[in-house]
Amino acid sequence: MSKFNKKKKGMAPINTASLPDIVFMLLFFFMVATTMRETTLLVKNKLPSATEIKKLEEKRLVMTIYVGAAVEDEGNKNGDKIQLNDKIAKVSDVRNFIYMSRKKVPEDEQSYMTTLIKGDQESSVGTINDIKKELREVNALKVTYATRPAAQ
């Protein structure tokens, strides 16, 4: 068994002193290039695809409304649900949601706010129209229908 006990010689240990630096660099890259995931999805959300899209740059001027069947609803039997912030809400709650979102930004920027409707492609236009009607009531007229870029 002397084979195992034999001491290896001349093998210098690899210097790992720069490893933290590399990892920190990666860390900073991800911290800068990404944004925090602020909500957990309670509805199914497979976005329709489109080509004529516009990017929404100013995150804080965007109010997001999710529309789709509930996640636990197999086969979409119970119809579309509307998610505002972190919970499922009714159409009538949209108004309040818009008012609350408006409060968070300075008054002079409120006119630039956009409502982003993230609708599941299986959801029905009726639900979206109900939301749009509410948005018109509170004069939130800028709307963006969220899509994913189409593979061309």
């Binding site: 911290m31 925090m36 599941d120 009726g126 007229l141 963006t144």
Partner: protein, 212 residues
């Protein structure tokens, strides 16, 4: 006094800590930028408002029914046909348009930039051409977006063509350059002005009607 050797700090676990942070950020953040089709909703109208009278030939009627079938001007079509038909309709230029406030016009003039067939049965002018999109409550949202996208593509095509003829740059490029805002103020001002002109010449007029 003899200086004491300070013991070396073991930095071996530094990498572990950094990895932990890295993984935390990878999990809790997203990379994607939100993008989509932008539309402006019409303002809320008072109850007894006078409805504007629009000639039937200036209306391009698109209907999507509850089974996601597409009916354009009373004929069946597929989604891929929408763009071409919409372009032909908007760009027809068969008569005089509404006066354009941006050009200080008092009377409507003919569309000098249109390349359409000038069919008297189709639209008069791009600023009179209304695309009416009628949907049912049960129409699928995916289909609705597809059609909206095609209509948007028709306008983009026409605006691109016009911008190419007038300024030698496509409209999409102009909009992108404006959003980047890297040029000097004078160039930016010119760019904004040009975009405004193109938009005035091909305004996006989409009327949405929902039936229950």
């Amino acid at each position: 006094m003899a200086r004491r050797d300070s013991p070396e700090i073991n930095a071996g676990s530094m990498a572990d800590i950094a990895f932990l942070l890295l993984i935390f950020f990878l999990v809790t953040t997203t990379m994607d930028v939100d993008a989509g089709i932008s539309r402006k909703l019409p303002e809320k109208q008072p109850e007894n408002v006078d409805k504007p009278i629009v000639k039937e030939r200036n209306v391009f009627e698109v209907i999507i029914n509850r089974n996601d079938d597409l009916l354009i001007e009373n004929e069946y079509y597929e989604v891929k046909d929408v763009k071409e038909l919409a372009i032909a309709f908007i760009d027809n230029g068969g008569g005089k348009g509404n006066p354009i406030a941006a050009f200080n016009e008092t009377d409507g003039t003919e569309c000098s930039w249109c390349g359409g067939a000038k069919d008297p049965k189709s639209s008069d002018h791009p600023n009179k051409a209304v695309i009416s999109l009628k949907t049912d409550r049960s129409t699928s949202y995916g289909m609705y977006i597809e059609v909206q996208n095609e209509i948007g593509a028709a306008y983009t095509f026409l605006r691109n063509r016009l911008a190419m003829d007038e300024y030698g740059v496509s409209y999409s490029d102009m909009v992108e350059e404006e959003s980047r805002a890297t040029s000097d103020p004078a160039t930016m001002l010119k760019l904004t002005e040009r975009i405004k002109i193109i938009k005035a010449k091909y305004p996006e007029i989409i009327a949405e009607i929902s039936s229950n």
